[in-house]
């Protein structure tokens, strides 16, 4: 076979191979779906203030300290009571600093006597009624709605039970309260 014809055969084979390569490559398609989602709202319900309400503090009840937690998720107070009937009232303010309306979904109060340094069992409502130290609250209830940018101030009252006639037991000399407010997004409808 002459060189010229050989060259033609080689070129033809090369062209055919190239067509086959192109054809194989085109039969494999990758489709891409790309999504971007953003959360554009903030949830931020917090305690902004806790103060003694001097007007409603009675007898020799004294507030020794109030502390607001750094993240605004907790507040602490410490009171001193002298005689039956003494009260100390605290104004606690909650603010919705986020962008979503909130609702008070649940409220739990847990009181324990800790006079001996070892916490007792959680007091039942019946036990609380006769306990020397009694905690109560007012101005807030379950399902209260807290709209965006609004505040809610309620009161926590600690009282030396006016019905106490005897010296309290050692464990009753000191009593702790943990009040938990569970706020959730207020879903309407």
């Amino acid at each position: 076979m002459k060189q010229k014809e050989k060259n033609m055969v080689i070129v033809s084979l090369l062209v055919l191979t190239l067509i086959m390569i192109v054809g194989y490559s085109a039969f494999n398609a990758n489709l891409k779906i790309r999504g971007v989602a953003r959360v554009s709202t903030r949830w931020n319900v917090m305690i902004t203030q806790i103060d003694v309400n001097k007007a409603e503090t009675t007898g020799e009840g004294v507030s020794k300290a109030t502390t607001l937690g750094e993240s605004g998720l907790s507040a602490v107070f410490e009171s001193s009571l002298t005689s039956p009937g003494d009260t100390v009232t605290y104004d606690v303010t909650i603010e919705n600093k986020g962008e979503i309306e909130a609702k008070l979904d649940d409220m739990i109060l847990e009181q324990k006597n800790i006079g001996t340094g070892v916490p007792g069992e959680k007091l039942t409502p019946e036990q609380i009624a006769s306990n020397p130290i009694v905690y109560s609250y007012k101005g807030i209830e379950k399902d209260d709605v807290l709209p965006v940018s609004e505040q809610k101030t309620f009161q926590v009252v600690v009282q030396y039970n006016p019905n106490a006639h005897n010296q309290p037991l050692p464990e009753q000399m000191k009593s702790s309260l943990v009040m938990t407010l569970s706020y959730v997004q207020n879903v309407k409808g």
């Binding site: 398609a29 790309r34 989602a37 997004q185």
Partner: protein, 191 residues
């Protein structure tokens, strides 16, 4: 004798001539010429992406400026979503068509999600991380080995983006934005 020699020479010459001609004739070159033409057309692409009107929950909104099929090659579709409250979700309907002449098969689906808010994007989120991630992507109505017949093959599937209803605290900066890359690898169906 002289005449015979002449005849012999002539005869030999003829024979040689015949042999030359014959040899020349036996060396004729045969040519086979062929032409190959590709008559098929491979064309699998995304034809549309739209919000499913029945798939929007809560206050989620679609970013119209982002949600569309890439006009240049139709191999990519993008969407953008804004979520406000836990429980919000939007569902997108995406249509893939086979307008070629070869049957296609969905060989592989990859579904990668990363949190991209803040300064540093995350790695691809694991299944465990997705359970508690504020933004969650899911898909439905499509699976590997689905076949798209030639010319008329169409599949519409859904991608849903949800603000996780189990979230109770404000997401971190990184979690405030999350990206999805879903890849559908189609190949020729030869079965």
């Amino acid at each position: 004798m002289k005449q015979n020699k002449t005849l012999l020479i002539d005869g030999l010459l003829v024979i040689v001539l015949l042999m030359v001609v014959g040899y020349a004739a036996f060396a004729t070159q045969l040519n086979i010429n062929g032409t190959a033409t590709i008559t098929s057309n491979w064309d699998v692409h995304i034809s549309s992406i739209d919000v499913d009107p029945e798939g929007t929950v809560g206050t989620a909104t679609n970013d119209d400026g982002v949600t569309k099929v890439n006009e240049e090659d139709s191999l990519t579709a993008n969407f953008g979503t804004n979520l406000l409250s836990p429980g919000d979700s939007i569902t997108y309907k995406i249509t893939v068509v086979n307008e070629g002449t070869l049957p296609a098969k969905l060989e592989k689906i990859t579904f990668d999600q990363k949190n991209t808010g803040g300064d540093e994007p995350s790695e691809n989120l694991t299944q465990e991380q997705l359970l508690t991630n504020p933004i969650v992507y899911t898909y439905s109505d499509i699976q590997e080995n689905d076949v798209l017949p030639p010319t008329i093959g169409t599949v519409t599937f859904k991608v849903t983006v949800t603000y996780n209803n189990a979230i109770q605290t404000q997401p971190t900066a990184q979690q405030l934005k999350s990206n999805l890359t879903m890849t559908l690898q189609y190949v020729e169906n030869k079965s």
